[in-house]
C-alpha cells in the first residue's frame, strides 16, 4: 500500500500533538517533520523552568527516538524556506526538496517587537526559545538595570525569570494603565502590582517606550512623556506575531494583521494545506495558548483520516504560573453585574460577573487566591446555575467545603472539558478510572490530563477521589468490618471533622465495637494528626498493647524501659542515673541495636516510679513502643573523626529532637553519617543523611528488619535547613498516604513512578502540598510533650499502671525470672516449663 505523504513544518508543541494524534489514528500516512530548532518539540509552556536549572532534555515532550518508533521522520535544524503549491513540494534552507500529499503548517509565532527606534541594539532580547533564554541568562549575569517591555502573562514570567537569575529589581514597562490589560481590571492590577513589588519587581504603568538608547548596546529606554530610565538589557514581550511568512510567499490567504487563514477543519485557502497552532487565524483570532492549538491538531488529524471534525474556537481563560502569585482570569473578565471581594490586608481580589438575569456566571478574575479557578471555569463553560447567593462562589458556602465540592462535581456534565490542554472530558476520566487508573499518576499517563499547564490537576484529583468513592472502591480497601473506609479516607475524615477520640470516630463513621485492627489504626491517625497524649480522651483502650502502657511487653508480662538518648550521645552523669535506676528496680540492661540503652524486666506497677526518676534526671520517653520516630543514629563525625566532613552528631541530635514523638503508620528510623564511609548505616534507614563536602545527601525509604532494603538518594548537597524541609515534606506525605503498618520502603515500592515521583513531590513540590505539609509538621512538633511525663503527672492515667484493680500495691505474682550471667532474664514460657 502506498502511504499518503504528510509533511509537517515546524516541530513545536502543536506539531508534536498532531504527530501523536495522527499516528495514533492511522498507520496509512508517511509523516515527515521539519523543525528549525535544534531541539525536538519541547514544553514551551514551562520554558521558564529552564532558567531554574531544569535541563533542556527534561522539557522535551518526547525523546527524539519516539518519532522513529512511530515511524515518523524527524528533521531537526532544518528550516523550510519555500513551498511549491503546484508541485506539492517544500524546500529546505539547504535546497533539499520533499514532496507531500498533505502539508501541515505548524510554525507557531515569534515574539512581536514593536517598531521602536533602536530595537536592533545589542541587549534587546525576546523570550520564546531555549536559545533566547541562553542569551538572557548571559546578559542577566552582568545586568544592573534590567527591564521587561510588556506587562502581560509572558512579560511577568520573564520578569520573574530575571529575578530568579539574581537580577535586582527588574522593571516591568506597560503601555496600558494596568497590568495584564487583556485579562484583569484595574482593581486586580493594583493588588497584583503590590505583590510583584513585594517580590522585588518594579512596575511602571502607562509608559510608552519610544526609543531604545545607547551606542551599539542598549543603555536605557526613553518614553513618550519625555522621561528616561536606564537599562542594560530589555526583554521585549509585547505580544506574538504569527509565523505566516512561508504561507504568505506561497500565496495562501493570510489575515491583514498576520496569521494563516483557516476554516473550521483547519484547511487554509489551499485544501491540501492545513495550518494549526499559533500560526493559524480562525475567525479573525490567533490563539496564543496551547490548549486551542492542541484542539486544532486533533481536528486536522481527524480530517486527514476522513472524519469531519470541526474546531469551534476557544476561550482565553488563563492562570498565571508565577511561584508566589496566584492569578487567574476566566470567561469574560470584564462583564457587568459583578460581585467583587477585596481583602487589602491579605492581598486578595476576586471578581465574578453574572449574566443579565443573574442566573449564570460569565467570567471573572482571581488575584491572590485562585483556588476556585477550576470550579469557576467549569461553571462558566458548562453554564451551571449559580447559587442563590452568588458570593458563595468566591467566599465558600456555609456547609463543609467537601460537601459543596462534591455537589459541584456532580453538576458537571460528562462532556465538561476538565483538562483543556489535552481536551480531556470528565466522562473520559471516569471511564479511565473504571478501567483501572486508580491513582493520579496512572490517570495522567493514560489520559494525558494534567500534563500541559497542570492547572486542572486539583480538579482531576477531586474527580478521581469522587469517582472511586462512587464506584464503591473504598469497600475493597476498608480497614475492617467496622469501617467502610481505607486508612487514607479515615485520615481525611478525621482531619476534616477535627475528631480527637476513637469513640467519636466509631460513633461518627463506624459500627459495632471496633476491633484490634481498626483501633490501633485510628489511634495512630489521631496521634499523627493532633499529637495529643495517646492515653487521654479514652484513647488508651484503642492503643496497641505496647502503646497503652508506653512500654514493650515481654515474655512473662514485664515491660522494657527505653529512655531517649538522641543521636546516641550521653553524658557520664546520665549513664550513672540509668545504672542506679536499673540496680534499684532490678532491671536487666543492654545496649540496643539502635545506640541506646534498654532496661528490661520492669513490673507494670514500677513503670511510673522508674520513669519519674528518669524524667527528674532529664530523660524523656524513647517511644520504643510506638509506631513513631525511634532513633536517629549518628557516627562521631567531624568533631573527632579524621575523615568527618560535617558534624553528624549535632545534626543527628537536631533531627531526633525535632521529630521525637511524631507518630506514623509504622515506626521511622534515621541516621546521620559524617562521610561516605557511612558508619551510622544511614542507607538502611527510613531517612538517612550522609555528609558531603557541601552539605548533606538525603536518602529515603530504607530499612533493615524482615526484608532489608537500601534507601534511595532523594537529593544531594543540601544545607541543613533545606534537608529538614525535605524531611518534613517526606514524612507528612508518608503519614498521610501510607497504608497501616507499612514502612517507608514498602510504601515507596507501591508508589507509581517510584523514587522519581517521590522526588518530584518532595523536591519540586509537584502536588503543591509542600507549604501545607511544612505548616502541619510545625503544628505537630509544637504539640510535643514527653508522654511519660504526662502519664506520671496525671493521676487518672497513672492509676492504670497497676496489675490488680482491687489490690493496686501488689505486683503480678506469676512473673518469674531466671539468673543470667550477672543479671537475669525472663522465665521460660510456662507451658514449656510444664513439659
Amino acid at each position: 500500500m502506498v502511504k499518503n505523504k504528510v509533511i509537517v513544518v515546524g516541530n513545536g508543541m502543536v506539531s508534536h500533538k498532531f504527530c501523536e494524534k495522527l499516528s495514533e489514528k492511522s498507520k496509512n500516512f508517511a509523516i515527515s517533520v521539519f523543525g528549525e530548532e535544534k531541539h525536538p518539540a519541547y514544553d514551551r509552556v514551562n520554558l521558564s523552568k529552564y532558567l531554574d536549572g531544569v535541563a533542556a532534555e527534561a522539557l522535551y515532550l518526547d525523546e527524539e527516538s519516539w518519532y522513529g518508533e512511530q515511524g515518523i521522520r524527524l528533521h531537526l535544524n532544518k528550516r523550510i524556506t519555500h513551498i511549491d503549491l503546484e508541485n506539492k513540494l517544500v524546500y529546505t534552507q539547504r535546497g533539499e526538496t520533499a514532496a507531500y500529499d498533505y502539508l501541515i503548517l505548524a510554525t507557531g509565532s515569534s515574539p512581536f517587537v514593536p517598531e521602536i527606534q533602536g530595537r536592533e541594539k545589542n541587549g534587546v532580547l525576546v523570550y520564546r526559545t531555549f536559545d533566547d533564554l541562553d542569551k538572557l541568562r548571559m546578559f542577566a549575569s552582568r545586568a544592573r538595570h534590567a527591564m521587561v517591555l510588556g506587562g502581560g502573562l509572558l512579560g511577568l514570567e520573564a520578569a520573574k525569570g530575571l529575578l530568579d537569575l539574581g537580577v535586582e529589581a527588574p522593571g516591568v514597562l506597560e503601555f496600558a494603565p494596568r497590568l495584564m490589560p487583556r485579562q484583569i481590571d484595574s482593581a486586580g492590577s493594583r493588588v497584583l502590582a503590590e505583590k510583584l513589588e513585594a517580590m522585588g519587581m518594579k512596575v511602571h504603568l502607562g509608559k510608552q517606550a519610544v526609543e531604545i538608547t545607547g551606542k551599539d548596546r542598549i543603555d536605557g529606554v526613553r518614553f513618550a512623556d519625555g522621561s528616561w530610565l536606564p537599562a542594560d538589557m530589555l526583554v521585549v514581550s509585547a505580544g506574538i506575531q504569527p509565523r505566516d511568512e512561508l504561507a504568505r510567499q506561497a500565496g495562501l490567504q493570510v489575515g491583514p494583521r498576520g496569521g494563516i487563514v483557516v476554516n473550521e477543519f483547519m484547511q487554509t485557502s489551499h485544501p491540501d494545506v492545513y495550518a494549526i497552532g499559533e500560526c493559524a487565524l480562525f475567525e479573525n483570532t490567533v490563539f496564543g495558548l496551547v490548549a486551542p492549538g492542541y484542539d486544532m491538531a486533533g481536528v486536522a488529524a481527524a480530517n486527514l483520516c476522513g472524519e469531519k471534525k470541526a474546531f469551534s474556537g476557544a476561550d482565553s481563560s488563563s492562570k498565571l504560573k508565577l511561584a508566589g502569585v496566584e492569578l487567574a482570569s476566566f470567561g469574560n473578565p470584564f462583564g457587568s453585574r459583578s460581585v467583587v471581594f477585596e481583602d487589602g490586608n491579605r492581598g486578595i481580589y476576586k471578581r465574578i460577573n453574572l449574566s443579565a438575569d443573574g442566573t449564570k456566571l460569565t467570567g471573572g478574575i482571581l488575584v491572590g487566591d485562585a483556588s476556585q479557578y477550576n470550579m469557576l471555569l467549569q461553571t462558566v463553560a458548562n453554564a451551571l446555575p449559580v447559587p442563590e447567593n452568588p458570593e458563595e462562589l468566591i467566599l465558600g458556602s456555609k456547609g463543609t467545603k467537601a460537601a459543596s465540592q462534591a455537589a459541584g462535581l456532580d453538576m458537571l456534565p460528562e462532556s465538561a472539558i476538565i483538562c483543556s490542554c489535552e481536551g480531556v472530558t470528565k466522562g473520559r476520566l471516569i471511564e479511565a478510572i473504571g478501567e483501572g487508573c486508580e491513582t493520579f499518576d496512572a490517570l495522567k499517563t493514560c489520559t494525558k490530563a494534567g500534563t500541559g499547564c497542570s492547572g486542572c490537576v486539583p480538579l482531576v484529583k477531586d474527580i478521581l477521589a469522587d469517582t472511586m468513592k462512587k464506584q464503591g472502591k473504598y469497600i475493597r480497601k476498608s480497614v475492617c468490618e467496622h469501617f467502610p473506609y481505607s486508612r487514607q479516607e479515615l485520615y481525611d475524615l478525621i482531619k476534616i471533622h477535627e475528631i480527637k477520640s476513637y469513640d467519636e470516630v466509631l460513633d461518627s463513621f463506624g459500627k459495632g465495637e471496633g476491633c484490634e485492627i481498626c483501633k490501633p489504626i485510628i489511634a495512630s491517625i489521631l496521634a499523627s494528626l493532633w499529637n495529643e497524649m495517646v492515653l487521654q480522651r479514652g484513647n488508651d483502650i484503642a492503643q496497641d498493647s505496647n502503646d497503652r502502657f508506653l512500654a514493650n511487653i515481654q515474655r512473662g508480662g514485664t515491660y522494657s524501659v527505653v529512655p531517649r538518648i538522641p543521636g546516641g550521645e550521653i553524658t557520664p552523669e546520665k549513664l550513672i542515673v540509668i545504672g542506679k535506676i536499673a540496680r534499684k528496680y532490678d532491671l536487666y540492661t543492654k545496649i540496643t541495636g539502635a545506640q541506646r540503652i534498654d532496661l528490661f524486666g520492669a513490673h507494670l506497677n514500677d513503670l511510673p516510679l522508674i520513669w519519674e526518676e528518669l524524667i527528674a534526671a532529664g530523660f524523656e520517653s524513647g517511644h520504643a513502643y510506638g509506631k513513631a520516630l525511634r532513633t536517629v543514629k549518628s557516627c562521631v563525625g567531624s568533631t573527632w573523626c579524621r575523615f568527618g566532613l560535617q558534624d553528624s552528631v549535632s545534626f543527628a541530635l537536631e533531627v531526633e529532637n525535632r521529630y521525637k514523638g511524631l507518630r506514623a503508620p509504622h515506626k521511622i528510623k534515621s541516621a546521620v553519617s559524617g562521610c561516605a564511609r557511612e558508619c551510622a548505616e544511614a542507607q538502611s534507614k527510613d531517612f538517612g543523611i550522609i555528609a558531603t563536602e557541601r552539605g548533606w545527601n538525603l536518602f529515603v525509604c530504607g530499612n533493615g528488619g524482615l526484608k532489608p532494603q537500601h534507601a534511595q538518594l532523594l537529593a544531594t548537597d543540601l544545607d541543613s535547613e533545606t534537608c529538614i524541609r525535605y524531611i518534613d515534606r517526606f514524612l507528612m506525605f508518608y503519614i498521610q498516604t501510607a497504608d497501616p503498618l507499612t514502612r517507608t520502603a514498602t510504601w515507596l515500592n507501591k508508589m507509581d513512578g517510584g523514587i522519581d515521583y517521590l522526588r518530584n513531590v518532595v523536591v519540586n513540590d509537584s502536588l503543591g502540598m509542600a507549604a501545607e505539609w511544612e505548616k502541619e509538621m510545625e503544628c505537630l512538633l509544637g504539640a510535643y510533650r514527653c508522654e511519660w511525663k504526662t502519664a506520671v503527672e496525671t493521676p487518672e492515667i497513672r492509676r492504670r499502671f497497676v496489675h490488680f484493680v482491687n489490690s493496686p500495691e501488689e505486683k503480678d505474682p506469676s512473673v518469674a525470672f531466671q539468673p543470667l550471667r550477672e543479671q537475669k532474664m525472663a522465665g521460660a514460657w510456662p507451658d514449656q516449663n510444664d513439659r
Partner: protein, 114 residues
C-alpha cells in the same frame, strides 16, 4: 432434671475503677480474672486472665471489640482472640477460657464465684 444452684457473688471493684471498653484484672485469692466493660451496650464480661496459648497473665490488657455480634478480646502477646461470651477461641485454637457472670449493683461490680 436440672440442678439450680444459687450463684454466689464476689465483690470485685467499683464501676468507676473499671475502664469503659477495656479490661482490668481482678484478684480473687490466687485466681486472676479479667473483667471487661462494653459501655455502649452496658454489658459486662469476665474471663480467666491467663491466656491459654502461652499461659501469660495478660488478657485483661488485651484489646476488646466485636466480630459481627460476638464480643471478643485479643491477647497482647500473639493476638489470639477469644469470645468473651462463650470463652471459645476464635483463632482456631482448641483451648477455651473459663467465663464468669457479672452483675452490677449500687455501683459495685460483682463476679460469680463459679
Amino acid at each position: 432434671m436440672e440442678t439450680v444452684t444459687e450463684t454466689s457473688w464476689f465483690l470485685a471493684c467499683r464501676v468507676e475503677d473499671t475502664i469503659p471498653n477495656g479490661g482490668v484484672c481482678v484478684k480473687r485469692d490466687d485466681e486472676q480474672i479479667a473483667l471487661f466493660y462494653f459501655s455502649r451496650q452496658d454489658r459486662w464480661y469476665a474471663v480467666q486472665n491467663e491466656c491459654p496459648h502461652r499461659r501469660q497473665m495478660a488478657l485483661s490488657r488485651g484489646m476488646v471489640g466485636t466480630a459481627g455480634e460476638e464480643p471478643k478480646v485479643a491477647c497482647p502477646f500473639h493476638k489470639m482472640q477469644f469470645s468473651l461470651a462463650s470463652g471459645e477461641c476464635l483463632s482456631g485454637g482448641e483451648c477455651r477460657l473459663k467465663t464468669y457472670r457479672v452483675k452490677v449493683a449500687d455501683g459495685n461490680v460483682f463476679i460469680s464465684k463459679n
